[in-house]
């Protein structure tokens, strides 16, 4: 077994990155179904770029998921479960809410 140090997915840093990215992309926008795709692409682009530079991108694979919902009082629940190496892998979430929409962004980092 290789005894090299295993890099651990830094959840705090990732959460911060997600927060910054969402704030930057959405600012104070109102929900518009035609813009959602654009926002999502922008979030992914930015998030993955930042994650790969900050979190030792060459030892992690990333999955970034986002869910955009129009805020009309509907309830929602999100669950996530995984089978991974608890020492090195991790997940970060960020929830963004404003008057018109709810945005939940997940970032999963799995070590190679």
């Amino acid at each position: 077994m290789a005894t090299e140090e295993k890099p651990k997915f830094d959840v705090k840093a990732a959460t911060k990155i997600l927060e910054e990215v969402v704030k930057k992309v959405l600012k104070d926008a109102t929900y518009r179904s035609d813009l959602v795709q654009e926002w999502q692409s922008a979030i992914y682009q930015e998030a993955i770029a930042r994650l790969t530079t900050h979190l030792k991108g060459n030892t992690f694979k990333f999955i970034v998921t986002s869910t955009f919902l129009e805020s009309i009082g509907a309830g929602i629940h999100i669950s996530s479960t995984s089978l991974w190496d608890a020492e090195s892998d991790g997940a970060a979430v960020h929830r963004f809410e404003n008057k018109s929409m709810i945005v939940i962004v997940y970032a999963f980092g799995l070590s190679v």
Partner: protein, 187 residues
């Protein structure tokens, strides 16, 4: 012991996504993790076949690249039989959603429990597939159906040849549910 990873630019190619009308789950796999895996020649004897697959000692050594489909050698890619096949997963995910949510009405208390249950069940089924070298992440979103606009998407930075994802969506009069499973190969 370098593995010669060269991460190509993450140019986003097209996602092959099935976007449903509302609450679309588009699990795109655009960014390809362009890693050039240099398989090193094992210096001593090239006949040494390290332990069998199934997760044993997954060291960072690779055997000679000449005979890369030898069953007992450690390969840096899954063979066809060991590969995650999204179609299989999609099928049982759809079934799981159907059985659990068919006649249900959205209930805030139940919903939390239900989404967790569905996620756990999907994960259990994935483990049953017995693909030894895969890590899984399952995400389930359960929402109340009030006609709101919703969109769920994902983008991954991984190795397109070995990793994959599967998704399923269910909706009825009072609720909608989207489940997505990601399978990431562990080298």
């Amino acid at each position: 012991m370098e593995r010669g990873h060269s991460i190509g630019s993450t140019a986003s190619s097209s996602d092959d996504s099935t976007s449903l009308d509302r609450g679309s789950v588009t699990s795109g796999i655009p960014s390809s993790f362009a890693s050039a895996h240099h398989q090193h020649q094992s210096s001593n004897d090239s006949n040494s076949s390290p332990s069998t697959p199934g997760g044993g000692t997954l060291g960072r050594n690779s055997t000679s690249s000449d005979r890369d489909s030898h069953r007992d050698s450690i390969s840096l890619r899954p063979t066809f039989m060991q590969k995650f096949r999204p179609a299989v997963a999609t099928k049982f995910m759809q079934q799981i959603l159907q059985t659990h949510l068919q006649h249900k009405v959205y209930n805030a208390d139940e919903a939390q429990r239900m989404s967790k249950l569905i996620a756990e069940e999907v994960k259990a089924k994935l483990i049953e597939l017995d693909l030894g070298r895969y890590k899984y992440v399952v995400n389930v979103v359960l929402g109340e159906n009030l006609g709101e606009g919703a969109r769920m998407d994902a983008r991954c930075y991984w190795d397109q040849e070995s990793d994959g994802s599967a998704q399923a969506f269910f909706t009825n009069d009072t609720l909608w549910c989207a489940a997505v499973a990601f399978a990431v190969f562990y080298y």
